[in-house]
């Protein structure tokens, strides 16, 4: 696409490009896209790590799907792993063992897949925290915030279904807990459970259905929503930190080509490298030690993957309260297992509106980011909420904590119960005071020395 008339050697690549351009009109407006501005600050790259982890998940997952058999039918294991030889195990567990011990590269793929899932959700979480504490979710970006929350939910779903597929004792225990929480939903729970499993627990169809969810519906949802997330991002342009150059009316950044392309490719390569490093060097979910799932067996400690830890913790912290309302017994799992998580997700999803209505009372469009100190109340609530989640997350491993600290299990649980209620308010309040202090300090400095005030480019506040 040279603009000069200089004679130039035409390579085969030029021919292909010309051929395509003749038919698809690729060059039209391409300059605009190649020059699309991307934010340069490093904190904007966290979302990309989540995206790249998802790509790794899709590729490794496809490989695993070539070999995994979602079938609970019993087979006699005759593979190379001696301690299970001769045992009757499900075809699903058998195929997981085959993947781990017989398929070339199978184990490392399995491990990369699992590590990628853990890093995927971790990256989503940090990305969300950045967006939250910098107010990047404010109008006009509410919709993308909601899509992000839905993506997180789908990631949970994908993680849970994936955790259940190998049909080892740990995965069966996780499924059992999920199923029990489901059963505790008044009226519809048992029915949904019956339909979902195709009969009584554990049923024979459950793995096939979880498999379809895990390899088809949930990835499709993830890809669809990620696409929407990115299209909206491109359409709305990115937010930016206020500076001399960046204002509420412009978009400052690095062009897609070559700067951002190189940055992203490098980050993609590093993401693959780190996940491969984890998958290659660190054991994860050694299902061959756990043995096949038998409904009558269970072991402790039985933890979920980290991102489900707060749900597990809520179940562990909640007192054993069972009450009857109008002849309907509400089991003790219903409030902590269904209502509270639902409430938390509703508040998180609706945060842009809560924020505009009650926190900032500001319904204007914003393209400039805030610092945590700029909105002390939001920062306080955010930190408090984070501490709350962290506290119930720790409770999800109360037995591991108890044995590592040689403290009584009930003592730990009692401490965590109090901590979960009291500490978030305390830390949230401290964060609020700190943010306010910083803000007031700054105002005082600005008032004392007006020359330090930012010129007109500052955000309208």
């Amino acid at each position: 696409m040279t603009t000069t008339d200089e004679p130039r050697h035409r390579s085969a690549l030029d021919d292909v490009a010309r051929w395509l351009d003749d038919r698809l009109r690729l060059a039209e407006g391409s300059r605009r896209y190649w020059r699309k501005a991307f934010p340069a600050h490093w904190s904007f790259l966290i979302g990309e790590v989540a995206l790249f982890s998802l790509v790794v998940l899709l590729f490794t997952g496809t490989f695993l799907a070539f070999f995994y058999v979602p079938d609970t039918r019993l087979v006699v294991y005759d593979g190379p792993y001696v301690p299970l030889q001769g045992q009757e195990i499900s075809a699903a567990f058998d195929s997981t063992l085959r993947l781990s011990f017989e398929v070339r590269g199978g184990l490392v793929m399995r491990q990369i897949h699992h590590w990628a899932a853990l890093v995927f959700v971790a990256a989503i979480t940090v990305h969300m925290l950045r967006v939250f504490f910098t107010g990047a979710f404010r109008r006009p970006r509410e919709l993308n915030w909601v899509i992000g929350v839905l993506l997180l939910l789908l990631a949970f779903g994908a993680g849970f279904t994936g955790y259940s597929l190998p049909d080892d004792l740990l995965s069966g225990t996780g499924l059992r807990i999920g199923y029990s929480v489901l059963l505790g939903i008044p009226f519809v729970g048992p029915l949904i459970g019956f339909i979902g499993l195709g009969g009584e627990y554990p049923g024979t169809d459950v793995l096939g259905r979880l498999h379809i969810l895990h390899v088809m519906l949930l990835p499709a949802g993830l890809i669809g929503l990620v696409t929407a997330h990115l299209v909206i991002l491109v359409r709305q342009k990115h937010t930016q930190k206020p500076s001399r150059k960046a204002t509420n009316d412009n978009v400052v950044g690095e062009p897609l080509f070559p700067h951002q392309t190189l940055t992203s490719l490098a980050l993609f390569a590093f993401t693959i490298a780190v996940l491969a490093l984890l998958g290659g060097l660190f054991e994860i979910n050694p299902v061959w030690l756990y043995g096949p799932y038998e409904p009558f067996q269970v072991f402790a400690p039985a933890q979920p993957d980290w991102y489900m830890g707060w749900l597990e913790g809520m179940l562990r912290l909640w007192p054993n309260w069972e009450f009857t309302v109008l002849g309907l017994t509400i089991p003790s799992t219903f409030l902590p297992g269904v209502i509270l998580p639902g409430l938390i997700f509703t508040v998180v999803g609706a945060w842009p509106w809560i924020d505009a209505r009650w926190i900032t009372k500001d319904h204007d469009e914003h393209h400039l980011l805030q610092r945590p100190r700029d909105v002390p109340l939001r920062t306080g609530i955010g930190v408090g909420g984070l501490v709350f989640l962290l506290s119930i997350f720790i409770a999800g491993g109360n037995d591991v904590l108890a044995s590592n600290t040689s403290t009584g299990l009930q003592t730990i649980t009692a401490i965590l119960r109090v901590a979960t209620i009291a500490v978030p308010f305390l830390i949230g309040w401290i964060a609020y005071r700190m943010a306010r202090g910083l803000k007031e300090n700054e105002l005082a400095v600005t008032a004392a020395d007006p020359t330090r005030t930012e010129p007109a480019s500052g955000p309208p506040r």
Binding site: H41, W42, L45, P83, Q87, E442
Partner: protein, 283 residues
């Protein structure tokens, strides 16, 4: 009262305490004698013919010096509240005594201490003596020291199955040990020897249930021992297994190493706050 016999270097507090315990012991023995008409007091006289007299005597001596303070004269137990009141040992069987001493759980230096795996606190000879002595209090009762010579040839697959059925609920799938209640932590079996594992299965130390040979025949105990040893010996095909406490350690690695490394990469790749004329915003 051998129970009050002072230990080699008694502090004043210890002496006073021992005296108080001795007094309690006398009262307790008196009470037991009243209640049971002295029937228990004759237990020692019925025994002793089977074992070697010298060994028994040595055992009685060590027992008096190191065990009777809590477990009572002739192992009758000390029916007082608190940590000083030890359980009776009559009829517990050789496996239990051998296990407790062999793993250094007993004798405790201080009754308030938590029982835990330590170096053996006496010589092998002394341990055998105490085992013989306690056994002589009720010959033939309680589980004997199991014979598991064949564990190396035992069926691993059966071992895994039995371990998940009977043991993993408390010891964890990788036998790493975990809190099983307010006061108790199941042992990490990494350091347990085959004989110790078998003795624990038979005698059920602490809150652990005892499994007799109707529930677990000798072959099964050997199979479990084989599997527990295999857990420790077998190379982990997946790479480094840090702690093996399942998703807890995995989550930690994912955050610290996985996302941690990537955050460093992001920081190095992206623009930092002070670059490109960015002046920290508005203030």
């Amino acid at each position: 009262m051998t129970a009050a016999a002072p230990r080699p270097t008694p502090g004043r507090r210890r002496t006073r305490r021992a005296l108080a315990i001795a007094t309690g012991l006398v009262l307790a023995v008196a009470l037991v004698n009243v209640l049971f008409g002295g029937g228990l007091a004759t237990a020692q006289e019925d025994t002793g013919e089977a074992a070697d007299d010298g060994l028994l005597q040595r055992g009685a001596q060590i027992f008096g010096a190191q065990c009777a303070l809590c477990h009572g004269e002739n192992g009758r137990g000390l029916p007082v509240d608190g940590p000083d009141g030890g359980p009776p040992l009559i009829g517990v069987g050789p496996a239990s005594v051998d296990f407790m001493i062999r793993t250094g759980r007993m004798p405790l230096d201080n009754a308030n201490e938590r029982m835990r795996h330590r170096e053996q606190q006496m010589s092998d000879q002394d341990r055998r003596a105490v085992v013989a002595y306690v056994t002589s209090l009720a010959p033939g009762e309680g589980p004997g020291i199991p014979d598991i010579d064949g564990w190396e040839e035992a069926d691993l697959s059966r071992g895994l199955e039995l371990f998940t059925t009977h043991c993993a609920a408390c010891h964890g799938p990788t036998a790493a040990g975990i809190a099983v209640g307010q006061r108790d932590i199941s042992s990490n079996l990494d350091i347990a020897t085959p004989l110790e594992i078998a003795e624990a299965i038979r005698s059920g130390p602490g809150v652990m249930p005892a499994f007799n040979d109707e529930i677990l025949p000798e072959d099964d105990v050997e199979a479990i021992v084989a599997w527990v040893r295999d857990l420790r010996e077998r190379d982990s095909p997946g790479g480094l297994a840090l702690g093996r406490s399942g998703p807890v350690s995995e989550g930690f690695i994912a955050w610290a190493l996985g996302l941690g490394l990537l955050m460093i990469v992001m920081y190095l790749l992206g623009e930092k706050a002070d670059e490109d004329g960015d002046d920290h915003g508005r203030a």
